[in-house]
């Protein structure tokens, strides 16, 4: 079985308190490797002496214990080998005792403290090397992902028969870590469990919890707002639809009468104004990026056509984006409010109107995010000015800059949604009385109507943008909440495991200590 270990604690008791190793290395290897060589050098472990190295008080009955904590968790099966460089006190050449310990899962029921007790006492009689007065046996205790895995390991091969514990030890004297030719185990990289202490885990869980609360709250707020925005869009639709319908019809009728309305006058396009509607805040997925990318793409397109352009930026995100790019000419920075009203739309409309009427620009395009549904919205380009039901404007070179490029019209042929909207305009036409009389001068009526139309178009775009933004934020925050709860779950599992492991370790320590006293 392969599980995750969070940390491994190895206890080494020394029967001779005088001859103690100066260093103990722990290495991890795989039992499947042919030569039983260490595969990964963990490095010098943090050695915490549970009792002083030279413990005089309790004689041999209570041997000094070295607790080795390997901080890095490893997947099972574990293969530990300890290097005890011994005898430094006695000017010996630094011998390395290489004890390879195979940890095998054992039956928990058969493992009782009393049986454990036997192991140390019997192992004390065997010495693998003559010059090592001290020989160690170790109880390696691994904090396993499964709590039923308790390790009891010994350096004595002969002991395997004596006890019912299943373990295997191989002695590889004078094996140095540097001699290893095999690379570190790749299995470690595949399973990279979080490595931190209980306290860190606790704080992480706390912070994830807090983040989740925030994202959850943001999601709920966005959901409440999106409903309001959706209502605003729905409420505004009859107005703008009727307006488009009326305008279309009046325009048709007025085409026979030769009148000059500035807003519908199509000129050869030399300069285009782009009204880019972005949001005021982030944390809404790719919403702002999508519309800005669209704007960039449109700008590149206009450049390729050899047309001049200027940008009217609406929304804080767009403002900061264009401020960072001074090479993009921006006519005006405007800020969208929390809920777009006719006032904000009026500000944009005034700007677009003056630009167009003063012949500074010959075309005004509106870039906004169309609200399709709660889970779907798409950035679109919609020609604002000149107001033209046909939408067919060509520049001097005869290159059509409008109809083909106009997303609003192009998408009608592709997607059903937009076709419906266009159909509304078409089917409404016969509904309109052909014998319509104009109370005032047609120019006067159009003068009253066109600003209204411009206004409503912009307002609708703003509303749809806001609804899309909120919907995007809602789904983004919903995802974030889901991720946070998953992360929290994982961290809690990890935390509980570590806690369990710690408890197990402490119990084992106590038991082993008590056994050693007997």
């Amino acid at each position: 079985m392969v599980g995750l270990t969070n940390c491994i604690e190895i206890y080494v008791w020394f029967t001779d308190s005088l001859n103690l190793p100066t260093q103990i290395f722990v290495e991890i290897g795989s039992p499947k490797s042919n030569d039983h060589k260490c595969q990964a050098l963990v490095g010098k472990p943090s050695i915490k002496s549970e009792q002083p190295w030279t413990h005089q008080k309790q004689n041999l009955l209570s041997p000094p214990t070295v607790k080795i904590v390997i901080p890095k968790p490893h997947p099972l099966p574990l293969f530990l080998s300890t290097h005890s460089s011994l005898g430094s006190r006695e000017s010996h050449p630094n011998p390395t005792q290489h004890i390879t310990i195979d940890i095998v899962e054992e039956d928990k029921t058969s493992q009782t403290p009393k049986e454990r007790k036997k192991t140390p006492s019997s192992s004390q009689q065997h010495k693998p090397k003559p010059y090592t007065k001290t020989h160690s046996f170790a109880i390696a205790k691994t904090a396993m992902s499964c709590s039923n895995l308790t390790m009891l390991v010994s350096s004595k091969p002969s002991l395997s028969d004596a006890s019912n514990l299943s373990f295997r030890s191989v002695l590889n004297p004078f094996q140095l870590p540097s001699q290893n030719s095999t690379p570190p185990t790749p299995s470690r990289s595949s399973v990279t469990p979080l490595q931190c202490g209980l306290r860190e885990l606790r704080t992480r869980i706390e912070s994830v919890k807090n983040t989740q609360k925030i994202t959850e709250a943001m999601k709920l707020v966005a959901a409440a707002k999106v409903r309001r925005a959706q209502e605003a869009v729905v409420n505004g639709r009859p107005f703008s639809e009727t307006l488009v319908e009326v305008l279309y019809n009046i325009n048709e009728q007025l085409q026979t009468e030769d009148i000059d309305v500035p807003l519908t006058k199509a000129r050869p396009v030399k300069k285009v104004a782009l009204v880019v509607c972005t949001g005021d805040r982030g944390l809404c997925g790719g919403y702002n990026n999508f519309i800005l990318k669209k704007a960039e793409a449109r700008i590149a397109e206009l450049k390729n056509l050899g047309l001049d352009y200027t940008v009217i930026s609406v929304g804080k995100k767009g403002n900061s984006y264009f401020l960072r790019r001074p090479y993009i000419p921006v006519d005006k920075f405007l800020e969208g409010g929390t809920l777009p009203t006719a006032k904000e739309a009026q500000a944009i409309a005034d700007d677009a109107f003056s630009l167009f009427v003063s012949e500074e620009v010959d075309k005004v395009e509106l870039l906004y995010t169309k609200f399709v549904s709660l889970v779907k919205s798409e950035p679109v380009i919609h020609t604002l000015l000149p107001l033209s039901p046909k939408g067919e404007i060509c520049d001097i070179n005869g290159v059509c800059v409008d109809a083909a490029e106009d997303e609003f019209f192009r998408l009608t042929t592709k997607e059903g949604k937009l076709t419906v909207e266009r159909d509304v305009v078409r089917t409404a036409t016969p509904d309109f009385s052909p014998i319509l009389q104009f109370e005032q001068d047609p120019v006067q009526i159009l003068d009253a109507l066109l600003p209204l139309y411009l206004n409503s178009q912009i307002l609708r775009a703003l509303q749809e943008s806001l609804a899309s933004e909120l919907a995007a934020r809602m789904s983004a925050m919903s995802n974030a909440t889901d991720n946070a709860s998953e992360l929290k779950k994982n961290l809690s599992t990890l935390y509980n495991r570590q806690r369990q492991a710690k408890i197990t370790g402490e119990i084992l320590e106590i038991v082993a200590g008590a056994n050693a006293l007997v």
Binding site: T242, A342, Q437, E439, D447, A448, L449, L452, L459, R460
Partner: protein
């Protein structure tokens, strides 16, 4: 034949139901509309719209726009519309006073036009209340 009135603003539908008669202030003066009116299109000035429901008259302040009348179907598109009963009289009176003060202070052509517009709006709102009482 019944006459159907629909008052639309960019934000919402203010009115959408059957009426007996309306009096609408257009750019060229007030016109009354009864069922079976000839189809006309007209610009709507800042002014009062009076609606008759049976024997009851209602007033509404319109902030300029456009109206289309055809086959007993009246569609009024305006930037803003308020029912007379929804307007707070005190607030409207105050706004009117402020607008009057602003107009007397206004300098320059653009500011004067803006102040004039504001004054007309404020006056319309006050009139809409007074019509009821």
């Amino acid at each position: 034949m019944t006459l159907n009135l629909c008052v639309l603003t960019p934000n919402r539908i203010v009115w959408d139901s059957e009426v007996k008669e309306i009096i609408l202030s257009t750019n060229s003066g007030q016109i009354g509309i009864l069922p079976n009116h000839a189809p006309i299109a007209t610009a709507v000035d800042i002014g009062i719209l009076r609606i008759r429901l049976n024997d009851q008259w209602l007033t509404m302040a319109l902030m300029g726009g456009f109206a289309r009348i055809g086959s007993n179907e009246i569609t009024i598109l305006v930037n803003d519309a308020e029912k007379g009963s929804d307007i707070d009289p005190q607030e409207a009176q105050q706004t009117l006073e402020i607008a009057e003060a602003n107009l007397s202070k206004a300098e320059g052509k653009r500011k004067t036009i803006e102040a004039n517009l504001a004054l007309r709006r404020a006056r319309t709102r006050v009139e809409a209340i007074n019509m009821i009482s």
